[in-house]
Point group: C2
């Protein structure tokens, strides 16, 4: 078959995360089989996406308004900032409904091998927020990976100059998990972070 | 967060097959993080999809031209028709490069419980093709499921009136599979379909 509209769509869809050539094909045929209004709506949303959504000038998460609804919400606790790697982490934490403070999106993690140094992240902006606003706690919510740990350690160091609490999300056995299948590092963390009951 | 462009995109993406709310979110953020030209191209393809692609009037597969490139290809064997359930099956078989004949898309399988009877499928068109063109073999390539078997049995019966060969794709152990993990029905089929070596 020659390169046609279907092949082009499949090749575009297969660039999405977690989507291989087979699933892209399945998606494309699903869209073809579905009511044309579905493809139309999807096309419209995609066409307008980058105009509608930009980064919040305060916290760096994606938003339609500026500042974002979270930063603008006076009912939230503005004295706690949760620092995350990417904008999508804000969504995940919001959905857990566990946190009622503000966020700060770093835009990545320190990774010297990939050429990402502290200067490439929004650490300066975070420092400014801590300096200007009456922040009493910064929660470091990077993933418990090498890069996440490195970044957390760096932030811990630079935030020392302020008289605030700096905490890190607990790392350990996932709820519903099994000791038998936990890796050594996770087990070690859950020992070091054990709590009195 | 209020319902915004991002939420609408996530909700549309999560309607794709195999895409849950989490992967839809990951996709949406990936699109936001990517160059805006990606969202633009995807939007354009989706907007034009249903205009560009329609069903081949001969075989029923999706195509830009009519008849489709496969039906129009005189170098292919027009005396063999491979009958498949859905248009995407044509793609899968074409990619295997195993078959050089023509196709016929049924548009479904006989499933009385879902209200799909032979009259809802393109069986009449298949009969017409067999009657008019000099077809010598029809390969039934439905999935080896209850509905697939029922449909194959039905087609076998109605195709009896023609003096042609009717075959069915072999069913049995998948290559690289393991006897230990084969279900009883697959094992039974591979015994019944065993071949002399």
């Amino acid at each position: 078959m020659s390169i046609n509209a279907l092949d082009r769509l499949v090749s575009l869809l297969s660039k999405l995360p977690g989507v291989g050539k087979k699933s892209a094909g399945r998606m494309a045929y699903h869209i073809l089989d579905a009511d044309p209004s579905y493809a139309g709506m999807l096309a419209e949303e995609l066409a307008g996406l980058h105009q509608a959504i930009h980064r919040c000038s305060v916290c760096g998460s994606f938003t339609e308004s500026d500042p974002c609804p979270i930063c603008a919400d006076s009912s939230r606790d503005h004295s706690i900032i949760c620092v995350v790697e990417r904008a999508q982490d804000v969504r995940v934490i919001e959905e857990s409904k566990e946190f009622r403070g503000l966020f700060h999106v770093l835009g990545g993690l320190i990774a010297p091998l990939e050429g990402i140094s502290p200067g490439n992240l929004t650490i300066g902006q975070l420092m400014n927020r801590v300096r200007k606003d009456s922040v009493r706690e910064v929660i470091l919510a990077m993933n418990p990976t090498i890069e996440g740990d490195t970044t957390a350690l760096y932030l811990q160091k630079v935030l020392k100059e302020f008289n605030i609490e700096v905490t890190r999300l607990a790392s350990g056995l996932p709820v519903g998990g099994d000791l038998e299948y936990a890796d050594r590092l996770t087990l070690s963390r859950s020992f070091r972070g054990r709590i009195k009951v």
